[in-house]
């Protein structure tokens, strides 16, 4: 167990190094720089800017400095907004994005799992077909279609909820729902499949034969194993939710990390983009480690080594 965690933590370093190296050289190879996006500036001013950001040093030196600083989460000031440190932007943006993503994940689990269980228990009935039909529709409607449609209905039609921004609880509802919808559907599908698999097994028949009430059979015995596919989906789900938040933050003007990334990419804000990409990569790896640990805890058959 401890060895497993240690080994995984050791794997973090090379993976992060690969990502850091890739992004660093990709951005340096790219034509055009952050300071020639707008009007031409005098050569001396350009040289002064380059000196300030260390862009005049040899590439190898820039690379090593970058790695050393990145290890401390220090990516220097933003290119576009020099008064702000990338680290400050990261932490600020992540607070918002984590809240948005966390709520979305919670909604997905709280709605998806019960729906999946109901569908599995009533396999091949109208309820099952309804849940699965809605789930398939949910998977197929992209969030950038759903978001505008929800705004159209609840903000511009019924005037119930604000159409954008991130101020106060009521402004959270539409972004969270938009982000969660696809994952509610996905979690429901996975739960149903997992439960159907488990309910066929011998230990469930034994539990029923012992005379346990159906509720206990389902909730105490079947659900624990039936949820395994959902647990292993949490890693990819976190990645997908991060990707989805790029869109949702754009649609609802939420000041999260995804918005900084997209705008930073357009502004060629090297330091900010690298910071966000590395930060998300590290976050996803840590998240996946936790998911694997949870998996082993839920399924006694899994041994970590």
């Amino acid at each position: 167990m401890t060895r497993f965690v240690l080994r995984r933590l050791l794997l973090f370093v090379p993976t992060l190094w690969v990502i850091a190296t890739l992004t660093f050289f990709l951005l340096r190879l790219a034509p055009g720089g952050p300071f020639n996006a707008e009007r031409d500036i005098p050569a001396t001013a350009r040289a002064a800017l380059a000196r300030q950001y260390g862009l005049d040093r040899p590439l190898a030196e820039q690379y090593l400095t970058f790695l050393a600083h990145a290890a401390r989460l220090d990516f220097g000031p933003s290119y576009k907004f020099p008064a702000r440190q990338v680290r400050t932007i990261l932490l600020e943006g992540f607070r918002v994005s984590a809240e948005l993503g966390g709520w979305a994940l919670l909604v997905a689990l709280l709605a998806g799992i019960p729906l999946g269980v109901i569908a599995a228990l009533r396999q091949n009935t109208a309820a099952d077909a309804a849940v699965m039909g809605v789930a398939l529709a949910g998977v197929s409607i992209p969030n950038f279609v759903l978001g505008p449609l929800l705004v159209l209905a609840f903000s511009l039609g019924l005037y119930w909820l604000p159409p954008a921004l991130w101020e106060g609880p009521s402004s959270r509802v539409l972004p969270v729902l938009t982000l969660a919808a696809a994952y509610v559907a996905y979690v429901a599908r996975l739960t149903r499949a997992g439960m159907l698999e488990v309910l066929r097994q011998d230990f469930i028949r034994t539990a029923r034969a012992k005379g346990l009430p159906e509720r206990a059979v389902v909730l105490r015995h079947a659900l624990r194993l039936g949820l395994l596919p959902v647990v292993s989906y949490l890693g990819p789900a976190a990645a997908a939710i991060i990707m989805g938040s790029l869109v949702v933050e754009q649609v609802f003007a939420v000041p999260g990390l995804g918005r900084y990334l997209v705008n930073g990419a357009f502004n060629r804000d090297y330091t900010l983009v690298m910071g966000v990409v590395l930060f998300y990569a590290a976050f996803l790896m840590a998240f996946n480690l936790i998911v694997d640990l949870a998996y082993a805890w839920l399924d006694p058959r899994v041994e970590l080594d």
Binding site: T15, V18, I19, L22, T23, L26, L27, L29, A30, P31, G32, L136, A137, V139, S140, I141, P142, F144, V145, G147, P148, L149, V151, L152, L156, A239, I242, M243, L246, V247, Q250, V251, L261, V262, A265, F266, R268, V273, V276, V277, Y280, A281, L284, M285, N288
Partner: protein
Amino acid sequence: MSVAAAPPALATGPPRSLWSDARRRLARNRAAVAAAWFLALVVLACCAAPWLPGLADPAAQDLRLGASPPAAAHPFGTDELGRDLLARVLVGGRISLLVGLVGTLVSLLVGVTWGAVAGYRGGRLDEWMMRTVDVLYALPTIFLVILLLVFFSRSLLMLFVALGLVQWLTMARIVRGQVLSLKRQTFVEAARALGATGSSVVFRHIVPNTLGPVIVYATLTVPAVVLQEAFLSFLGLGIQPPDASWGTLIADGARVMALFPWLVVFPGLALSLTLLAFNFLGDGLRDALDPQDRQQAR
């Protein structure tokens, strides 16, 4: 093909091949059949859009008309420049479907080759190739796609390459798993005994036998690529004007949706229904082509 032979005890009537059996089972799945017809209709309408009689020219502006709601002359309405939305949705669909198809082909080409070579050669090469896949899996690849598109070029070609390169990983894993189990079978040994070279064994004898899972996964890759193209275009990183895809139409429509809601509703419907149909068809194909499931569900 060893998987194709039905066990003698269960065989009633003439032996069925994997493909005829699959076709029969697919035909019984009404949702999948409906999805297939719908997709055929969409593909046909999109491809034939420039020559469809009665369809307006998607570029023809009518500034006096402006944005008008759906009516007999313009079933989907018109945009702010008076362009017919139905024509624009169909022509946009051409690009969306093209990206989906080409992206899937790129992922097929890279994924099948990578997985087949890794699985067949085994050993250190396999170890190294699959580690590469693992590392790439851990990367937030969509960020790399965004970086590629922003910093190099936002051309259609770059979009094909970038999206295809993201999608081949799962394909490589699926094919490798299949190849690992197939390469020990007697027909492979026979091919080798007859003097077939390594690459001809892999690509003439083994890869054709992995087609079932590959087709299923490819059917599910098309909507994934279409969705990603729309996602990138929505963010302004994909298809650039004057070209339009469903993603850019939705993005444009979302900007003015308070005034002209139909401009976001119809492209959104087109995209969602197409994705839904691909998913139904993929699910149906999986049920029809999964050899493990064939005996029980007969």
